[in-house]
Symmetry: C2
DNA sequence: CTGCTTGTACGAAGTAACTCGTACAAGCCG
DNA sequence: CGGCTTGTACGAGTTACTTCGTACAAGCAG
């Protein structure tokens, strides 16, 4: 099945499909595998408004590549953002890669749709 | 619209539809209205495995009426169960009514499907 | 090398959540 | 009435989470 082939009529998600990761991209940081994703952990990660906003923003406004912490423009100390991005990664919501001195994130759309179909649509519809 | 008339082809939820509440039923305990439901609060309530199990059990195994705390058979002190059921009610997941000396609960299927379509299907599919 | 940038690690302080024991209220039944 | 049941209220102990300052590491530009 080709990557991004998500064309079931009438069920196309409103959030952007993910792109093809280039072969020379760095390895992802440690994260739970698809089978290890737990719904209650994912929901716990999304119970924080800032983290919900991070995922939603990545889902709706991200271009065809990963984004750094600073791209979001949050007015919070760096150590706080580190905490929230790590929480999202350890819950399995985002994948992070280290590009030089930047750490870029994107939503694990495929894994989340496979394990929890419809969950990302709820996040996309969230009114912050 | 008859109760349980949820027959969009291929999208029928696997959990039991709710029943008609009799006219002489007690008033529900204080709860947030449909418009006041917040996705991050609902997810926070579901981030506890015991509470996830309560909602899932109500969804899949409940008969055509409300159920008491004791019906679940949890091996926890009563004061702990009070805490979790109240958390679920205040988050808007369940509705509670006082019948004599029992307090019975059911999932707010209509409100939750209207505000967060697909969320209850995720709960029903949860592997505890 | 010197600075600048991105982000981590660590720790501390404050807050919130969970668990549970005890005491109490309210309804039902003998 | 007295006892039984269902569940609450309150409080304490513990744990977990959040927030953030500071110090540090690593990459890049000059």
């Amino acid at each position: 099945m080709p990557a991004g082939a998500r064309s079931k009529a009438g069920a196309r998600p409103r959030f952007a499909a993910r792109w093809d990761v280039p072969d020379d991209a760095p390895e992802p940081l440690p994260e739970p595998g698809r089978a290890a994703l737990r719904l209650e952990v994912v929901m716990g990660a999304l119970s924080d408004p800032l983290r919900m906003r991070i995922v939603r923003t990545l889902l709706l406004e991200s271009e065809a590549f990963d984004h750094t912490c600073g791209w979001f423009g949050f007015d919070r100390p760096k150590s706080s953002l580190t905490h929230h991005f790590r929480t999202l990664r350890e819950a399995g919501l985002i994948r992070q890669r280290q590009y030089g001195l930047e750490r870029r994130s994107h939503v694990r759309v495929d894994d989340l749709e496979a394990r929890f179909p419809g969950l990302l649509a709820l996040v996309a519809d969230w009114e912050g």
